[in-house]
Structures are given as structure tokens and as C-alpha cells.
């Protein structure tokens, strides 16, 4: 029990959004209301939901739960990553744990001193010198004066700004600014450290330095909660990760698994399922729309197989519905790797097939990608219809995920080597 640094139970945070949130209330309105309906106005003085109706009745306020029913435990010395899409609630969670905002329900028990890095350079004052800002910023972050004085030289050395330490910060380059700000933050000595995507700033060398420093912090037995979009940083620093989806924890486990799940949130795995494309994000003029997509795999002898294996044929079938006249359109299938690089791009025009449709019609387009020698891994399939260079009619960048697994016969070959494309080859070695 004494092992636990953070214990979160049923944490929830609700925000009021919408019309009531936008316009700041004015005191003038409040006073005229008070004059009109004195008792009601008096009762609402001190109501703390930041939501007052200006004409006496409850306006329809929209409420969203930025976090709902979040529970987890972090042990001392554990480094845990928190990942999720923008708006999933990661920053809100950190804000609550940092006591910047209050939860609406639930509670969190924090054992030990907590320090938060929600922003680099909080409170930095441009007119003051680097030295003065170190003291100011350190104090704001929670360091005592004596502590700052003790670590002063280390901080300056870490930030590499010795020569400029007595110049006003407004003359610093943005790189120096960031290094100094992070230098102060990096020397915080808390039991628990909360870090929110601050490593996104700075050049590669500096980021490496920061990651190194955070690694040290973790090794010294401190608990670290690390929010980031940088999945490789999360995997390298954290053994465990939490995936936040729309305000709740959707996954809690080894960071490799969780980051994989996060990156490939797009669609299901099952080859037997038709992917419905009506609700996904489309781009383009919209004269026609992709409705669905089917993915199948055929083995070397043409028989259907249940997973996509390196070297098999991939069959893609898609249905398109037409909403306005289109003439001579070209349909393309694109395969991307997990970094978004386009690996395969085939289209009907290359075979001389064009599509013309009238409103109300539907068309089925089939592709057979032959001997897809992609290395095992996860890929995305995208669809495109348009007139090359002239018009984009519909485009679904990531229609579904496609997982390629190793060919059982040559597992070693297909899994070990880093090249994306495993081409067939012959080789011969001769000693002379």
C-alpha cells in the first residue's frame, strides 16, 4: 500500500460548453438581473459552476465529460505513458492531478511531492535576465530558494547558456529559451513528475538530452506520468502506458501493446468484415462516394486464405455510389505504412479502365494486388476516385487497416529484415 504514488478512483471532469461558455458574463447584466429578480440573483452569487443564466431561466447549456470514471494506480518508481488522440482528456487528467482544476467527481490520492511540467517556461518574464528567471521559474514550479541556489550551476550547464545568463531573456533565441526553461524543470526533485508533451519543442539533440534526463529521473525511483504523442519516446521511456479514449481509459498495459493499439485505431482486423465507409472522413468534391470496402487474400494457388501473408494476392472490392454526373473517373487503391508513407498506388486508369456514372447509380470496382511482398506489419489502405490532376471526387485516406503476417515457410526472411518490400531474388556466392 505504501508503494503506491498515485491512486485515482472514479475521476470525472465535466465542462460546460456552448453558448453559455462563450460570452463572459458582464457585471452590468448581473446587476440589472439583480434589480429585476433580487432573490434569484442573490442565490446565484457564489454558485461556482461558472455558468449563470443572464435572464433568470436555465439556458440550455451543453455539458461534456472530459473525463469519466478514470481509475488507475501508479507505483513509486513507475514510468507510465499516457497516450490518446487530441481531446481524449490527457491534459485534463494532468491538470486535475496537478491541482490546477478540480474534479467533478471521484478522487485522487497523491503520496509525495508532485511537480508538473505542463508548459515550458511558465512565468518567464522577458525583461528579466536568465539568472532571475531561473529563480522565478524555479520558485513557480515549487523549488525552494536554497534548492535553486544549490542547483543553479547545474541548470545553467544543462541549458548551455553560461555566457548569456545575465542577459534579459527577451534577447535569447527560441532554442536558448527552451533549453533554459527545460533546464529549470529538469532539476525539479519531486517524488512524482507529471510531464505534458513539453518535449515537442527543441531540436533533436535537445530532445535526446531531455529524454535522457527524464530517464535519469525514472531510474532514481520517481514516478513519472508522461503524456506524449511521440510514441517512440513513450515506448523507450515507459514500460506501461494508458490509452485514453474520449475521457476514459480504454487500455492499460505494456507500452508496446498500447502504442500499437493507439496507432492502429482505424479499423478492425477481420477479413470477413466489410468496412462501412459511410461514416469515416471523406475528402473531395463528393460527386461520388465510397460506400464500403472488402479485403480478401488469396494464396499462391489462388485459394482464399484467412490472413494477408507476405507474397499473397490481396483482393480489394469497393462499392461507389454516384450523386452527380462523373465522366472518365479513375479509381485508385493506396497502401500506406504506419508512418503514412505511400508504398503502393495502383489505379484503374493504368489499365485503361475509366468510370462514368450518373446520379443514383452504384458501381463495384475490384482490384487484385498480385504477390504483395510487404514485410509483416500493419498498413493502411486508402481509396481515391477522381480525375488525375483535375478533380478529386472522393478520397478516404485510411479506409481500413491491413495487417500482413509472415509467410510460414519463410518466417525468418520476412520478419527479420528491415526493408519494406521483400523482393524475390537469386544470389550466388563464389570464392576465388
Amino acid at each position: 500500500m505504501s508503494d503506491i504514488a498515485i491512486k485515482v478512483e472514479g475521476l470525472g471532469k465535466r465542462y460546460h460548453i456552448g453558448a453559455n461558455q462563450q460570452s463572459y458574463k458582464t457585471l452590468k447584466e448581473k446587476l440589472t438581473d439583480t434589480a429585476a429578480t433580487p432573490f434569484r440573483a442573490l442565490r446565484s452569487l457564489g454558485r461556482r459552476n461558472g455558468h449563470h443564466s443572464s435572464n433568470g431561466h436555465k439556458s440550455k447549456a451543453e455539458m461534456i465529460w472530459a473525463l469519466k470514471d478514470v481509475s488507475f494506480e501508479i507505483k513509486r518508481g513507475e514510468v507510465v505513458g499516457i497516450i490518446g488522440r487530441n481531446g481524449a482528456g490527457k491534459s485534463t487528467l494532468l491538470k486535475i492531478l496537478s491541482r490546477i482544476t478540480e474534479p467533478t467527481e471521484g478522487y485522487a490520492d497523491i503520496t509525495g511531492r508532485i511537480a508538473s511540467l505542463l508548459e515550458v517556461g511558465t512565468g518567464f518574464q522577458p525583461e528579466l535576465t536568465g539568472r532571475e528567471n531561473i529563480y522565478l521559474n524555479g520558485s513557480i514550479l515549487g523549488m525552494k530558494h536554497a534548492e535553486i541556489r544549490r542547483k543553479f550551476d547545474e541548470i545553467v550547464a544543462f541549458a548551455e547558456v553560461e555566457k548569456f545568463i545575465d542577459t534579459p531573456v527577451k534577447h535569447y533565441s527560441s532554442g536558448m529559451y527552451v533549453r533554459l526553461a527545460f533546464g529549470v524543470a529538469a532539476h525539479l526533485d519531486p517524488e512524482i513528475l507529471l510531464v505534458d508533451e513539453v518535449l515537442a519543442v527543441g531540436d533533436a539533440a535537445f530532445q535526446k538530452k531531455c529524454l535522457g534526463k527524464m530517464g535519469d529521473v525514472a531510474r532514481e525511483g520517481r514516478a513519472v506520468l508522461f503524456v506524449s504523442h511521440n510514441t517512440s519516446a513513450v515506448v523507450s521511456l515507459c514500460k506501461r502506458a494508458l490509452l485514453l479514449t474520449s475521457g476514459s481509459i480504454s487500455m492499460d498495459g505494456p507500452s508496446t501493446d498500447v502504442t500499437a493499439s493507439y496507432q492502429f485505431e482505424a479499423a478492425g482486423l477481420n477479413l470477413n468484415q466489410t468496412t462501412d465507409l459511410r461514416e469515416v472522413t471523406h475528402k473531395g468534391s463528393g460527386k461520388a462516394r465510397f460506400l464500403s470496402m472488402d479485403l480478401q487474400a488469396n494464396g499462391k494457388s489462388g485459394q482464399p486464405i484467412h490472413s494477408i501473408v507476405t507474397g499473397c494476392d490481396v483482393l480489394i472490392e469497393t462499392t461507389v455510389s454516384c450523386l452527380a454526373d462523373i465522366q472518365d473517373a479513375n479509381v485508385a487503391v493506396i497502401v500506406y505504412d504506419s508512418n503514412g508513407y505511400r508504398l503502393i498506388d495502383v489505379n484503374t486508369a493504368l489499365k485503361g479502365d475509366f468510370l462514368s456514372m450518373q446520379p443514383g447509380q452504384e458501381a463495384t470496382i475490384r482490384f487484385r494486388l498480385k504477390e504483395v511482398l510487404l514485410k509483416p506489419g500493419s498498413y493502411y489502405v486508402g481509396l481515391w476516385i477522381g480525375r488525375g490532376g483535375v478533380e478529386e471526387i472522393d478520397s478516404v485516406d485510411y479506409a481500413r487497416r491491413m495487417d500482413v503476417i509472415a509467410d510460414v515457410e519463410s518466417v525468418r526472411h520476412t520478419e527479420v529484415f528491415p526493408g519494406a518490400y521483400l523482393c524475390k531474388f537469386d544470389s550466388m556466392v563464389e570464392t576465388n
Binding site: N49, H52, G112, Q125, Y135, S139, I140, K144
Partner: protein
């Protein structure tokens, strides 16, 4: 009933302590009136010091006039008052030369008025801190009030110079002076807390403040003596805490005839009530600050 923070954190010297030594803090929604937690303010005293230091340093680095600004405002006001009220309108001044009569009031008044305008916008102005770091938010308007002390001291020095010029030496009553300064600070802080908390939610408060300040100036016996009022109005007048400050200042420094006993008592009570209610209101609204600032 609030189940808010259980124990405050303990500062640690080096490295993580054994688990047994660490206190546990509970973060939970607060309900109703929130306790003031003055002990936490004491814990964050260094931050308060730094914020005051920062405010003062920035203020003086920026303005070319710097220190003279602290003097110009009350001084010029005094000149205008002396000309129109003192000389032309022949306003009575409790037996003291009018210029010094009004200046002795303007010095603490400026402290109060500046404190008011600074603290009313302090929370919104520190939104970058409030949304990113935890510290007791009471520190923000507190820092604004305190940073006015430097300006006050400068203007006070000028006041002493003026007294010497007029050949007026302070009586023993001057020992009471720090108390009146304290009263001014309490008032400034109290009203500042109300205004800063209100300003976060009602953004037009900031624009009302200059009007309030100006109105308050005339309702305070700066240009005229409070002895103009007959009893019982004279004592009731003390409900404006600045009356106590101003009359007290004049009495302590210049030995005016009016020994301001009851009026000071009324002013002090009013100031303390404003401060305490302001602090509780502030703490109650504090949970919304980061969300709506």
C-alpha cells in the same frame, strides 16, 4: 462539509524519502465554503516574495519615469486640490496648511487606489500561471497589494520632505502610523480579493474599477476634512474604511485636532469584514478560475 486536501506536502531535502515519511494528499471535489488554508500561504511565502519582486522589477524596468511615477500622481493631485479646493474655495483643513493636509491623505490613498487597479486584474493577468501551475491563488492578489508598498514608501519620503518644508514635526502619535498603513493594506487587499475574483467571471469589472476608484476618492475625506460632518454621521462615515486610514494618517503625522477614536474602530471593523468575506468568496470561486480565466 468539504473533503478537500488532507495534509499539506512536506518539503524534502534530497531524493525520494522512504514511503513511510510521505504524507498523502487527497484531491477531490470541494463543496460549499472552502477553508482559507492560511498555512498553505505560509508554505508558499517564497513564491509570494518572488511574485512581488517580479512585479516591482518589471514595473521599474519598463517605465522611463520609474520611481517618479509613484510621486507624480499624488503630488499633482495635491497641487490641483490645493489650488481649487484649498485656495479658491477656501476649504477648511483642520488647522493645517491645505497642501499638506491633502497630500498626507493622498499618499495612503494612492497606495489603496493602485492596489485596487492592480489586484482587480491580477488573476486574469496571471492566467498563464494559473492554468499551468498549482499554488494558492490567494497569492496573486496578495502580491499585487504588496508590490504597491515600494511606491508608497517613495511617496512617503516626499511627504516627510514636505512636512519639513512646512516646519511641521510629527508628534508621538506617529508611532501609530504603521497601524494605519496596515489598515490601508487590509482594505486594499479585501476589496482587491472581491474584485479579482469577480473579474474572472465578469470581465467588465476591470472597466468599472476606475469609476469605483474615482467615486471612492470623493467619498473619502481627502480634499475635505471629515469634521465637516456632524455626529452621528461622522462616526458612521467610518464605514468607508479609507476614512479611518486617511484621518488616522493625518492624526498620526500632523496631529490634527480630531482624535479619531470611534471612527477608526468603525473603519477597522469594516475593513476586516471586507477582507474576511472577500477571502472566503475568493476561495469559493477559486475552483473555477483555471477553467474560465
Amino acid at each position: 462539509m468539504n473533503t478537500e486536501f488532507a495534509v499539506s506536502e512536506s518539503p524534502l531535502a534530497l531524493g525520494p524519502s522512504p514511503a513511510a515519511a510521505l504524507p498523502t494528499l487527497r484531491i477531490a471535489p470541494s463543496k460549499g465554503w472552502v477553508p482559507l488554508k492560511l498555512s498553505e500561504l505560509w508554505e508558499y511565502r517564497e513564491l509570494l516574495y518572488f511574485l512581488v519582486w517580479r512585479d516591482i522589477k518589471v514595473r521599474y524596468k519598463q517605465t522611463a519615469l520609474g520611481a517618479t511615477w509613484a510621486i507624480i500622481q499624488p503630488f499633482l493631485t495635491m497641487v490641483v486640490f490645493s489650488l481649487f479646493f484649498g485656495h479658491l474655495a477656501k476649504m477648511p483643513s483642520d488647522g493645517i496648511p491645505y497642501p499638506i493636509f491633502s497630500f498626507a491623505a493622498l499618499v495612503p490613498w494612492s497606495f489603496f487606489a493602485n492596489g485596487l487597479s492592480q489586484s482587480s486584474n491580477s488573476l486574469v493577468g496571471s492566467s498563464n500561471l494559473i492554468t499551468k501551475v498549482y499554488f494558492p491563488r490567494l497569492i496573486v492578489p496578495l502580491a499585487s497589494s504588496f508590490s504597491g508598498v515600494v511606491d508608497f514608501l517613495i511617496a512617503f519620503a516626499v511627504l516627510i520632505a514636505m512636512m519639513l518644508y512646512y516646519g511641521l514635526l510629527p508628534t508621538l502619535n506617529v508611532l501609530w502610523l504603521p497601524l494605519f498603513l496596515l489598515l490601508a493594506m487590509v482594505t486594499s487587499l479585501g476589496v482587491g480579493l472581491w474584485l479579482s475574483a469577480l473579474n474572472v467571471e465578469y470581465r467588465d469589472v476591470r472597466f468599472i474599477v476606475p469609476f469605483i476608484t474615482q467615486f471612492w476618492l470623493f467619498v473619502t475625506p481627502i480634499a475635505y476634512p471629515s469634521s465637516l460632518l456632524p455626529e452621528p454621521w461622522h462616526t458612521l462615515y467610518g464605514l468607508n474604511p479609507m476614512v479611518g486610514v486617511v484621518e488616522g494618517f493625518r492624526w498620526a503625522l500632523l496631529g490634527t485636532k480630531t482624535a479619531p477614536g470611534p471612527i477608526i474602530a468603525v473603519s477597522s471593523t469594516a475593513a476586516i469584514v471586507i477582507l474576511i468575506t472577500g477571502a472566503f468568496y475568493f476561495r469559493r470561486m477559486e475552483k473555477t478560475f483555471a477553467d474560465i480565466v
